[in-house]
Symmetry: C2
Subunit: 334 residues, 2 copies
């Protein structure tokens, strides 16, 4: 009988998660109940939000408990459907995949994909959660004006790469912050005007000032931490900061970090700092997906994926992504 | 010949300003040029924004230089007018008074007051800059909804006392933070539902939680510092924080303070933190003043003043206000 290797949470990580915070067990292949689908996982996604789900600290969604099956976005093939809207062989995307080779998902969370329109794993990247995050954070929350300088951290990551390209399409002036020279070079290929390697800049605030000679009008903050400080010290009057992610805090997640506080700057610049959650824009998802898909079809949106293979590699892919060692959207192919 | 005692900036304060950062000199009574008025000062105002003007740090307005005459809001009687719009004997308000008994102001900065409508010094308080600040910060920037909890720091101060009363008038749920039990008691008389003494609370975050059982929807932050932290840790989803002042940083003004950073909280709660400057609302000043005046005439707006007498006391009044030792709008009567 076939087994179903599955990753469970062994303990809440202390600081930066490690692969051995998770444990692989050989479970049985589950049976779908009414309204459920049994799917074979083809792609699993690892994303920064998952760090919040495996912490006892307060979050916007209920967290996992120790011993729970790890959950996340995935793409898979329907092996058995207990819902009239889905058939065996359908390729579906859902945010409720387990970290396992076979998983049961509620049919209402699943979307049928058309492999002829785009590679199915784009539903986990530029045409899915990260792409929508970039779209709404930039166009709905920050709302830049034509020509404004848009600084983006984790600029080659799943969200950043799309945010930078949307900024270029819309006529803003995108500037990248990323962690290697190779990432910066690729960001420039995507249409970022220039970029800053935050790991090698001797004075990050000065580097931002040099790369943004007109100051920073919008900052799409995927990281928090020292990169945030460098952006804040260059923020223009009426500057807008959208806090999309805090991946730089992944190793000190259960308590606030200590550092410079920017309230004088916020006051003097009449700046706006705003937290972002994709769920708040659900009513506009269809419109945004249609626009992203159109750009993708016309070749205006490129995407880069960083792929590890095999169910064994999911925790490593997750930690790698949290540490910024990935180059592009981190995926696991099964 | 009459002299004109005037306060000049002796040095940039290091930390909390002290009265001897200013020097009193016996100048001559100046002559107004074309478009100017010579006025005899009746009331001088000291306000938190002045701390930023006597610092070499960046601010929204150009700062004073060492040796400059101290400037601020005042009310006075016109002794001589070189502008056709003003006559001798007019009582005027302007934000360009020197800290001196006789001052020359540009006529275009002056507004003629009608002493029969309201005591003239209200033009420096509830019907002037602090009142307008409270009005716009609450109604235009924070925009609370009916019944929402509005937490206000420096709640009995010039801005806070008006913000709390507007919140009551509009049907919000105002909660005060102030530094003495007497101030809290008076805030409740004004219509604050309850209040917190931040100097005696053993756990400020817990005290805010107790006073705001439904959480904090809006925080009008006049102080920054530890009070800000206590509000942030109780901020609701979609909470709004308006940074109106940073008086708690008056003693460490030239560098950012170090402390807890709230980016995770901002993200998780999709909170909005926004800096406020009254100048940005100039086009709506007339409407706001009319509404404030109407409330004042109908007895809906009370105001409390903390008055020192004599030109000698201006620096003491200023320092007293920065330290929160005032109770109500700090004024100097000449």
């Amino acid at each position: 009988m076939k087994t179903n290797p599955s990753w469970f949470l062994r303990r809440f990580p202390s600081g930066m998660p490690r692969p051995d915070d998770f444990v692989l067990e050989q479970g049985r292949i589950p049976n779908p109940g009414p309204g459920e689908l049994l799917v074979k996982s083809l792609w699993l996604s690892v994303d920064p939000y998952m760090r919040g789900r495996i912490s006892p600290a307060k979050n916007y969604a209920a967290g996992l408990k120790v011993g729970d099956l790890m959950l996340g976005g995935g793409v898979g093939e329907v092996l058995r459907s207990e819902d009239p809207g889905f058939r065996t062989g359908d390729i579906v995307q859902s945010d409720c995949f387990g970290w396992q080779t076979h998983t049961v998902i509620p049919a209402k969370t699943a979307i049928i994909l058309d492999p002829e329109q785009a590679p199915v794993q784009t539903s986990l990247g530029c045409l899915g959660m990260p792409g929508l995050t970039a779209y709404f954070a930039l166009l709905r929350t920050a709302r830049p004006k034509l020509g404004e300088t848009v600084l983006i951290s984790a600029a080659s990551g799943a969200v950043g790469q799309i945010a930078g390209q949307i900024a270029r399409i819309k006529g803003y002036d995108p500037v990248a912050i990323a962690g290697t020279d190779e990432k910066i070079a690729w960001c420039k290929e995507l249409g970022y005007r220039t970029g800053i390697n935050h790991r090698t800049a001797s004075d990050l605030a000065a580097a931002v000032a040099e790369s943004c000679p007109n100051g920073v009008d919008v900052f799409i903050d995927n990281t928090a931490g020292p990169v945030h400080d460098a952006a804040m010290s260059n923020l223009n009057v009426f500057g807008r900061v959208v806090v999309v992610g805090t991946v730089a805090l992944a190793d000190r997640f259960d308590r606030p970090d200590i550092g410079l506080r920017h309230l004088r700057r916020i006051l003097i610049q009449r700046a706006r700092i705003e937290g972002f959650l994709l769920d708040d824009f659900a009513s506009e998802n269809a419109i945004a997906k249609a626009e992203l898909s159109e750009w993708y079809k016309r070749g205006l949106l490129q995407t880069r994926e960083d792929i590890l293979d095999g169910i064994e590699s999911v925790p490593s892919a997750f930690v790698r992504m949290l540490k910024g060692e990935n180059f592009g959207k981190q995926l696991v192919r099964l």
